[in-house]
Amino acid sequence: MKLISLSMRNFMPFRGEQKVVFPTKPGQNVMVVLGNNMRGKTSLLNALRWGFYGIAKGRHLRDIPLHLLHNTDAGLDGDWEMEIAIQFEAEGFLYDLRRRAIKKKLVTIPGKPDDFEVTLQLQRDGMAMTGEQIEPEINRFIPKQVSRFFLFDGELLQEYESLLIEGSDQGKHIKEAIEQVLGVPALINGRTESGTLLKKARKQLSSELSHLKVAEKDLEKQREYQVKSDAYENDLQKLRDTLKKTKDDRALLDDQIEECESVYDAKQKLDEFERQRDRIIKEIERLNIDKLELVSNAWRDLLRPKILARREKLAAEQRRLMNQIQHRTSIENEAHQLRKILELSICPTCGQTVSQTRHDEVNSRLGALEIELQAKGGEQDSFSSISAEIDKLNKITTQEVGERIRDKDNQINRFEVELTKLENDIEKLRDEIKGHDTAEITRKRFIRDSLIKEQAKIETEVSTTQKQLETIKQELDIIARKLSNLPQARTARSSVLVDTYEGIEKAFSESIDSLRKNLREQVEERATEAFRMMTTQKAYSGLKINKNYGLSIIDEADRVIQVRSAGAEQVVALSLIDGLSRTGRSNGGPVVMDTPFGRLDLQHRDNILRYLPTTTSQLILLVHDGEISPKTDLAPIADRIGMTYIINESGPRHSVIERTAL
């Protein structure tokens, strides 16, 4: 089966009519579609999904409602028609598939999927097929169940990596999905059905044996266990329903929360910044109060230099007066001595009588000193007055607050700079969350957290109830066998049915185990084949599958490699998908990969690009320049690339896909 062309009209970002032609030459079966994030690579993948199966997948592989697939700008222009047309060839026939959605006449602006009328047409070699023939015909070539293996995106790749974690919740779901694709559920349903019939037959046998005295006790016990078993089964079903609903609600909330994660982060940041801002405002306020307290005494500091200068002057004067006072004291002392000499006429030093000449000299000196003493006076008063003034001035100059005020100012300035920056950031964050109900986001996170706890609680209850139910079933089995071994039971009509259904149930159980084993072996073999081709580590001998379809890398000595790089995990996941794809489809059809090379190095990309085109009829790669450099990375398979497209942004909700060259 090969894709020939895809035409899109008003589908997601592809406004108006846009067409992609696929490469069909056998040696050039690779198509590369380049496009940066948010341009429409996944929408292209969804165009194929919706065209073939009427579904489109969003984040976490959740279905996108029909009304959201229509291009918004086209709707604003009143164009409410959306169509995907896919041409493909299979088994020598040319097919033309068209899925169209048109707004219903009575609807003004579509707000739900039902507001659109969807039609599906399929022509084979120009002959229209009837409605009920279309889906089975599509599923013959590209089965919907397997579609996840050939229409897959990077997110799916991550999902598959979780298979490698034993016992992971997501791993269990993927295992179910894989078994669904590989046909195991048919056998599981068979076992369940035969189990139901066996239960019925045993009930009938019990009723036929009810008149027997010998079976009375066992029948009573059986009735009791049966009541219990029914009750536990009911409980289990209810618990499973609740668990499913809880998980669905949680997944929905996870998606919603993730969508507004950036808003939530911005709100958290805003709250933190506002707290910081309030702290800074308070700090500035405190510093201002401290500063104003210092300012109240600052006038003294302002006068300090002048007062000090004045005090210096006064101190000089004070020193001068002190000298004068000391000088006067010495004069007074000398005059006192001279007076004593004149009075006693005896020298106070040698005790001899003073001569007349000496007496006259002393008298003359005393006269001079008395004149000097009379000329001076008042120094003591001046000295006291200056000392008092100096004391008063000293009181004024005791404070020194200038340095402390400047220090407070510096601190305030620093905080104000910080405050301005914070206020700018707060403003930006406010703009970012404008129009979003942040309280609602917080509420959703709270509910999601409660659901996580609730989920864990229900899972424990499910496990406990399941164990109790199994114990009861074992008891019921023992009683049933005991009853059917009674001689009277052998003649009972229902006994034959019990034996038959027991046999069928056993056969189904064994078949399930055997089919699972075979499928796992097949997947392991094909995935190993793919892995050997894609890995760059030649010491690895292959892959080993576990019960969950998780794959481990094995070295030459058949030992499991415990630590694997992110790149190795991606190669293992790609190998698994290739193995599953080839196990689930008999004919290797086209494979579309969205962003498959995220964490791979050049050599791995090279190996993958060389290998995958050999196992598929067409390999369509949707890549962005962050994961692959078209000119250099695609060089090894340049001769296999039959077609290259680029998705360019034409407007916020409008992308254009065009042919380009590498």
């Binding site: 104003l292 300012v295 006038w299 006068l303 230099p305 002048k306 007062i307 000090l308 100012d409």
Partner: protein, 125 residues
């Protein structure tokens, strides 16, 4: 001659309005802090102020503004007040100082820390 000092002290009407604004704009915790600082500023600048023009208003008792007579001492030490009571000089100095601070505040340059630093150079002049 004994000079009678007033019990009340004030400022010119225009300066009074500006004094209130300096307080409202949180340059000073109390109006009297601004008043005292204004006197000191004028003294630091060696201003010989003229009489207050226009009407003058009593705003404080002397005991409130200068409880320990430090202002009195400072003015007396730095200015020859002659026959004029010291607190009348204080009013004139305050009037000049408030108007000067108000000018700086209007220009956004009223920085007490900076003024204190400037006063160190003023004393050398």
């Amino acid at each position: 001659m004994i000079i009678q000092e007033p019990n009340q002290i004030g400022i010119g009407e225009v300066a009074h309005v500006k004094l209130k604004k300096l307080h409202e704009d949180r340059h000073f915790a109390e109006m009297r802090d601004a008043y005292r600082f204004a006197i000191a500023l004028a003294l630091a600048h060696g201003v010989v102020p003229k009489d207050i023009t226009g009407s003058r208003q009593n705003i404080y008792s002397v005991a409130t503004v200068d409880p320990d007579q430090s202002l009195y001492t400072a003015i007396k030490a730095l200015i020859n007040t002659g026959d004029t009571p010291v607190y009348r000089w204080a009013e004139r100095l305050a009037d000049w100082g408030v108007i000067e601070m108000s000018k700086r505040a209007d220009e956004g340059t009223l920085d007490i820390g900076q003024i204190l630093k400037e006063s160190e150079t003023l004393s050398l002049e």
